[in-house]
Symmetry: C2
Subunit: 263 residues, 2 copies
DNA sequence: TGCTAAATCTCGAAC
DNA sequence: GTTCGAGGTTTAGCA
């Protein structure tokens, strides 16, 4: 019944059977649905929350995820993950939208005392999203160009299982010593140092020979410099943006450029 | 110039000076602004991202935070924290909304090739939000009713500084032994066990006497039971929802009830 | 202001 | 399915 338009708008819709049916239809047809109005919100699931009456924006997406947004604050005050089942009803003059999610079992109940606006959207979006300068980019950059970590460093493997987890990069330094590399895209704190230390300890005991630990991060938290030194670990300043630019350069290099750089 | 209505709607607005001016005014007046249309999005800041053309919902809130939502996926694909400065312009027939944030310095640029809908909202929401069954609720419940942890347990202090952090609760058990309690609201993993172990170690060395470690959580991860036992730590199953109900009960108790319960 | 830990964290990958 | 760690994490609480 709804045509090919991108958006249908109901301005100050009454809370009645007609409005209820339209909302039910837009949910059944997997449209994106915006409801703006004065409402109360309850949540029960992993935790429990309550929010008294106020004006909010409610978003139901095509994957049946739910967002409740207040006029301020960048995060949603209540939400529901993809795959909800919705029930719409009218109770004591209020339009009630209930969303139920399984695994984890959670319920969000929204009671609208007033509806200011209802919008039904038919959006198309197939584009791909790309993100750069992540910790994974830093890891790739070191593997592609190990000299940014240390002259003479040669990666041997990465994501290697070492109790109590996985080391980011594992290799050999210019003097033939084993070296474990822990990468952080932000300032490395106490936990990063302790984690690296645990890896070094495990590998030392396993290999029964010297193993270096190298922490690669933009900076190291002030109090942790001493801890790092006392544990005989190294620190190498490394910026995620610089790593991203190395990947970009490598990606855009022609074959000739590549051969020149690596001859 | 905009009156007291809750919502103004521009249906398929043209990309021209008039639309640009209206958007600029709604930003200047700190309205909540929704823009729905076909757009491209770029982000530069702590990382870098790119998203090609597609239909999206853009939200600018009254605190000048920004959200870019795709038709599916519960999380925003791009966002900007509260306190942005916006610039609106028309470039090569596209409406360009640029948001700039300081500290961290970040930029989100949205280029609309088409606008399906623009909504300007004047929302009022003063209600308070309450959340229950958090880790803090669990801590409070144990302090109020220590027997849920262990018969005869007596809390001495909480949030006590013990390297390398703060212990959740610190007390004495029925046999007079010191006990450190580590609380987790979800299944406790290896890290929780290791952290508790570090606290116990520090306190043992400091006090030079026996110190027990008690891990209170809904459950313990499978592989960690052995680790817990080898470190001679205890585990007490404890549910956040149950703790919340204890707090609720305590809160709603009359003075008479309280005296009866604690006589 | 800076740091630390929790979160209805979410998400993805690996086992 | 479970577990584990990254994230433009964000946010709240303190030193």
């Amino acid at each position: 019944m709804l045509g090919v338009r991108k958006a249908w708008v109901l301005y100050t819709p009454e809370i009645n059977e007609e409005t209820k049916t339209l909302i039910e239809q837009s949910l059944a047809q997997r449209r994106m649905l915006l409801l703006i109005g004065k409402c109360r919100v309850e949540y029960q699931g992993r935790a429990t929350s309550r929010l008294d009456a106020g004006d909010r924006l409610i978003i139901v997406k095509q994957d049946h995820s739910l967002l409740v947004h207040r006029p301020i604050g960048h995060e949603a005050v209540n939400w529901q993950l993809s795959g909800c089942v919705f029930r719409v009803s009218i109770e004591e003059g209020a339009l009630v939208v209930t969303s139920i999610h399984q695994r984890p079992h959670e319920l969000v109940k929204i009671c609208f005392d007033q509806l200011h606006l209802a919008v039904i959207l038919n959006l198309k979006d197939q584009a791909e999203f790309t993100l750069h300068a992540t910790e994974e980019d830093m890891q790739k950059a070191i593997l592609l160009e190990p000299s940014i970590l240390e002259d003479g460093f040669t990666p041997v493997s990465y994501e290697k299982k070492v109790e109590p987890g996985f080391v980011d990069i594992y290799g050999v330094d210019s003097e033939g010593r084993f070296a474990v590399v822990e990468i952080k895209r932000k300032a490395a704190g106490r936990n990063a140092v302790l984690q690296l230390s645990r890896y070094v300890k495990t590998l030392r005991e396993g290999a029964n020979r010297e193993v270096r630990g190298i922490l690669a991060a933009p900076e190291i938290a002030k109090g942790c410099q001493r801890l790092l030194e006392s544990l005989k670990l190294s620190f190498k300043p490394l910026n995620p943006q610089k790593c991203a630019s190395i990947l970009q350069r490598t990606k855009t290099l022609s074959l000739t450029d590549f051969l020149e750089t690596h001859q």
